[in-house]
């Protein structure tokens, strides 16, 4: 009796082969069952996989309250009652819609390519709530074909299993965990006033230090001051900065997308190293904006990105005040400082979680 394929501990090549055949069976059956004209989703190994939590995709503030105040059973019962009522869009909704538009254009330009965005719903919600979530996804005609509803278990293992390139959640602890496991992740916050965003082009803005790049230079500023920072940058102008947590995610993005680097650095004194690093990585950023310390909010308001990543809550708050959807990347030395002052790491968590 031969050992079943796919469950051998060391038999990788065996299970890969059976997966290939299973994929063929999958295509056959799913083509048969497809009642809509929606195209087939790409294989995870080829796609840029973006995992979003249910609370960032949809506005679940009221329901969350029921969960916190009345417990799991009441929460699930409440969701079941409202099962046919779609949720209202959440904070990552515009980003997801924009990704769908990009996919449509990529398919037009490169019909045989599987290098597309794949959006996965990754939630530790109970499967019973899943019916309402899927009803909502269908209501807005979102292309989300894959999901994990872990019924309370941590999603981190599943993020890896789906080869996730970016994870967005409202829960900063999960985001922290993901980053520690080497998965690019950011915490999103509710944004009250939102600017009108482009329907045809996906715009993503990034902070530089501790987001795209490592926090090595930021450490110098925080601990030794600006002068030391400028001298350091000049000295190491030709040495590329080390990678930050979101770097690999960015590498695979190109075409109907516009990317912006929005950094507090100034072009004159510290900009050269940034540009040379990007060049050495072969990374194309459409616009690099050096603010020399000026606030990011007004500039972001002009750019209108679908999402803006920064490691410092100060900048996140500034962006949100002027209607930009911002996501916090909890990485590096920035987490130990708030508005220039060194803080306790315990209170740091409270500051991060002050906005829901």
């Amino acid at each position: 009796m031969s050992k079943p394929e796919g469950t051998e501990r060391g038999g990788q090549s065996n299970s890969d082969n059976s997966e290939e055949k299973y994929w063929v069976a999958a295509k056959t059956l799913s083509d048969n069952a497809r009642t809509t004209m929606k195209p087939r989703p790409p294989k995870p190994s080829n796609a840029v996989t973006i995992a979003v939590s249910s609370r960032t995709l949809f506005n679940m503030v009221k329901e969350r309250k029921v969960f916190e105040e009345e417990g799991l059973e009441k929460y699930v019962a409440h969701q079941l009652e409202l099962e046919d009522q779609p949720f209202t869009p959440g904070v990552s909704f515009p980003f997801v819609k924009a990704l769908m538009n990009v996919n449509a254009r990529l398919r037009e330009l490169y019909p045989d390519s599987e290098e597309l965005f794949d959006i996965v719903l990754m939630t530790n919600n109970h499967a019973q709530v899943g019916v309402r979530l899927i009803n909502s996804i269908n209501y807005y005609d979102l292309t989300i074909e894959r999901f994990c509803m872990t019924g309370g278990e941590s999603p981190i293992g599943y993020l890896k299993a789906y080869m996730t390139n970016l994870y967005l959640s409202k829960d900063s602890m999960k985001v922290q965990e993901a980053i520690e496991e080497g998965i690019a992740a950011a915490t999103m916050f509710t944004c009250d006033s939102e600017n009108e965003l482009s329907d045809t082009q996906l715009r993503v803005a990034f902070d530089g230090d501790a987001v795209l790049f490592s926090d090595e230079s930021e450490i110098i500023v925080k601990e030794h001051g600006l002068d030391t920072f400028f001298r350091h940058e000049k000295e190491f102008e030709n040495k590329p900065l080390a990678q930050g947590p979101l770097k690999s995610k960015n590498q695979r993005i190109n075409r109907p997308i516009r990317t912006y680097l929005v950094t507090a650095r100034s072009a004159a004194s510290a900009g050269a190293r940034v540009l040379k690093t990007l060049r050495s990585w072969g990374l194309e950023v459409d616009e690099a904006l050096f603010l020399a310390g000026a606030p990011k909010g007004p500039l972001l308001q002009k750019i209108r990105p679908h999402i803006f990543f920064d490691d410092q809550m100060f900048h996140i708050e500034g962006a949100q005040e002027l209607g930009t959807i911002a996501a916090h990347v909890p990485y590096g030395i920035g987490q130990k400082y708030h508005k220039g002052k060194r803080i306790d790491t315990n209170t740091n968590n409270e500051i991060k979680m002050s906005k829901k």
Binding site: T7, Y22, W23, T28, R34, A127, Q128, V131, I134
Partner: protein
Amino acid sequence: MEDEKNRTGPLMIALQYNDLFDLDSISASTNTEDALPKGRAVAFVKAVQTVNERLVEQNKSESLLFEVILIAKECSEEIKMKIVESVKYYGLEIGKFFFFKKEELINTLQSNKVKLFLSTDRDDVCEALHTGIPAALLYEQSDDHVLSQLKVIFSGDVIGFSEDSLDSLSDFGFSETQIETLKAAKICMKEFAVLIGQMKRRFGQENSPLCICVLTAWGSTNVCVSALKTLREWGLDVDEAFCLAGAPCSPILAVIKPHIIWDGGLHNMRDLSAHS
């Protein structure tokens, strides 16, 4: 009528002895005095025992409990003794032992009103399903990770597809045998789901010793919703749901770590030609 009959009896699960013990690792140098080395099914039996303990905690006279029986194909008296001793050694609660000839597998299962035949051998599972015996795959659990929950996965593809859709599969390379097996599997899954649903209702939603998952490997999210709603109709609340849309199953299964996978024999249906 059927409900009453089910409620009074135990839920009998049959295991094969070569899943309970790892016979392949026995060599000439193995001490014959020692118990047989543990196999893949030991973690499963322990999980089942946990469920039984919790059920009895709730209700001392509970009759809807799991009962595990061991079936073994032709072997010597020596090995029979070894098996019984080893079972005792590991503290496994095995209700009955059956030893029979290979061809009698199906008869043995049928005559003992087994509610579930669990095996790591896909061919055995498929064969059993085809003759109407409820059968599911025993997933390989690494022994060092003993869960305090019994995890069961139901295939969203099998449950979520309607009777008509299953019939139309013949247009897409599935043979008559395969389609019949899938239909028979669905009936078996329903019976099992009803029983497990009754058991699950003895506990609350949190801290339950039974965890039910739906995994939809190929079907769309709507197929998954259909599966969730169908299971709900059958009286079973699902805890975790996964929709893969063709993504590889093994990495996801490795995270879920289930004990039982009800996939209606789908894993055996790999020789389909691609229709483009």
